[in-house]
């Protein structure tokens, strides 16, 4: 956006919202929203504490493990569905169902199956992230130009070469799009897991702060979480832009 010919940097609208937050906070309208400045102060106070570091580590580890599993299983399954009619017919209804299902309702079942520990949290994260990754990988493979496939065959590509040198790259823009949305959903999954399964990590902090009405602490943790999710999503969006030069021209 430009104002009077001056180009505003990206996301400068956030400044406006920050000011609004500060005003609402200072007006004492509700205890639920402390001023932003207070939240930031709290943030810098707690960020070095062992409790916070511990929670951060627990959350990051569970999140990364869950996302890694979602990517490692989701992409090949999606590609397989795009390539094989049989696999597609078998799995597609389930994938679509889980994509739109309220997965939170499944978490108690996971607890019964996998216990109250880290394992269930990781699986919850995977369960939130994987479906869109599968669907997008499938869509990416399905749109591959038929003549590119024929080109690879006619020049004698082995199945492995065809996969790594042609199909994967041709489907990459869609795959990355799926991973980006999957990562965002995974953040949801890991927090829901930590709140519902065993109260650890950021989930434990949320629980602790909100039940003790430590609102600025609560918001501080939430800000950290938002920032992390946003940074991840931007990183993947950046990767997507790096392949966008050919995404529209396939």
């Amino acid at each position: 956006m430009t104002i009077h010919g001056y180009r505003l940097p990206a996301m400068s609208s956030l400044v406006l919202w920050a000011v609004l937050w500060e005003i609402v906070g200072r007006s004492g309208l509700t205890f639920f929203i402390p001023p932003l400045s207070e939240v930031l102060q709290t943030l810098f106070q707690i960020i070095g504490t062992p409790a916070f570091q511990n929670a951060l580590q627990e959350t990051v580890v569970a999140f990364l493990a869950g996302i890694l599993a979602a990517v490692a299983i989701g992409i090949p399954v999606g590609i397989l569905m795009g390539k094989s009619r049989l696999v597609d017919e078998m799995l597609l209804p389930w994938v679509n169902m889980f994509l739109s299902a309220p997965l939170t309702a499944l978490v108690p079942v996971l607890m019964v199956l996998f216990g109250f520990g880290m394992k269930s949290i990781v699986i919850t994260t995977t369960l939130f992230a994987i479906w869109i990754i599968i669907l997008n990988s499938r869509a990416g493979v399905k749109q591959i130009d038929r003549s590119l496939v024929e080109m690879a065959r006619s020049f004698g590509a082995s199945p492995l070469d065809a996969f790594y040198k042609v199909y994967f790259w041709a489907a990459l823009p869609e795959i990355l799009g799926g991973v980006r949305i999957g990562v965002i959903r995974g953040v949801k999954g890991v927090i829901i897991g930590q709140l519902l399964i065993s109260v650890v990590g950021f989930g434990a902090l949320f629980e602790l702060y909100s039940s003790n009405f430590l609102m600025s602490h609560f918001w501080a943790v939430l800000l950290v979480l938002f920032a992390m999710a946003f940074a991840l999503s931007e990183l993947l969006a950046h990767l997507e832009r790096r392949v966008s030069y050919y995404a529209a021209k396939r």
Binding site: S147, E150, M151, S154, F155, W169, L172, Y245, K249
Partner: protein, 256 residues
């Protein structure tokens, strides 16, 4: 006039191809003389691209067989290279990698295959565009990349599927002239699918006219007299004009 067997590079023998209940090709036999350009010409839906892809090994015939240099075709092979109607370039790779891609798939070392590719990039007139990406090139230039890729694997048989149909008219004329000198320069057998009568007569040593539903070869024409005249003389040659008229006369009833 019969051509001795050793002078035949590609033979299609009693080829039939069915798609379910649809008969695309029936009992089609055709010889392709070595070192010459043979056009497959016919109205759309006459199965000419199907035949080309069967020769390429990309499609399997329902019955019949194709031989290249006396060996039966069972799939794609290094003795044939394909030029695609829609170019089929890797959009994420630059011109150099695209041209070298056929060699890359054959496991040729990078420096060697890039040296070969650079030579053919110069040959097709794309010197200076090695680092460009396909979306930065015009349609005509993209097809030059496709052609350079097919040339750089040095196959004896070049299969071209309506290679000039997606480029503009002036570029196409230039392509046709370049193709004539390419046929003379390279000792390769060209099989060329087109729906343009003028194009077929202009570039071909032999024209096979295919008629549709189910396709078979209805006529083989070998333009002779004007072949050795200059590229710019052909289009006003009486024999050229006669052949164009003759082909149109036999094809027109298949065009609604």
């Amino acid at each position: 006039m019969r051509t001795p067997a050793s002078e035949i590079a590609v033979t299609a023998r009693r080829i039939s191809k069915n798609y379910g209940a649809v008969e695309a090709l029936r009992n089609l036999s055709l010889d392709f003389p070595r070192g010459q350009l043979t056009s497959l010409l016919g109205p759309s839906g006459c199965g000419k691209t199907t035949l080309l892809k069967i020769i390429a090994g990309l499609l399997e015939p329902t019955s019949g067989e194709v031989e290249v240099n006396g060996k039966a075709v069972t799939g794609p092979g290094p003795d044939r290279a394909f030029v695609f109607q829609d170019f089929a370039l890797l959009p994420w790779a630059n011109v150099l990698r695209n041209v070298a891609f056929g060699l890359e798939l054959r496991g040729i070392a990078r420096s060697e295959r890039e040296a070969i590719a650079e030579g053919y990039i110069r040959n097709v007139g794309l010197a200076g565009f090695e680092a460009s990406y396909p979306h930065e090139l015009s349609g005509g230039m993209r097809q030059r990349v496709g052609l350079a890729r097919a040339l750089s694997v040095d196959a004896q048989v070049l299969l071209m599927d309506e290679p000039f149909s997606a480029v503009d008219e002036q570029t196409r004329r230039k392509f046709q002239e370049d193709l004539l000198s390419l046929v003379q320069r390279e000792a390769k057998t060209f099989i060329f699918v087109t729906h343009s009568i003028e194009e077929a007569v202009y570039v071909s040593d032999q024209i096979a006219i295919l008629l549709p539903r189910p396709s078979r070869v209805s006529e083989i024409i070998r333009p002779g007299g004007f072949r050795n005249k200059g590229a710019d003389q052909i289009r006003r040659d009486p024999e050229y004009l006669d052949i164009v008229d003759e082909i149109w006369a036999s094809l027109r009833r298949y065009v609604e």
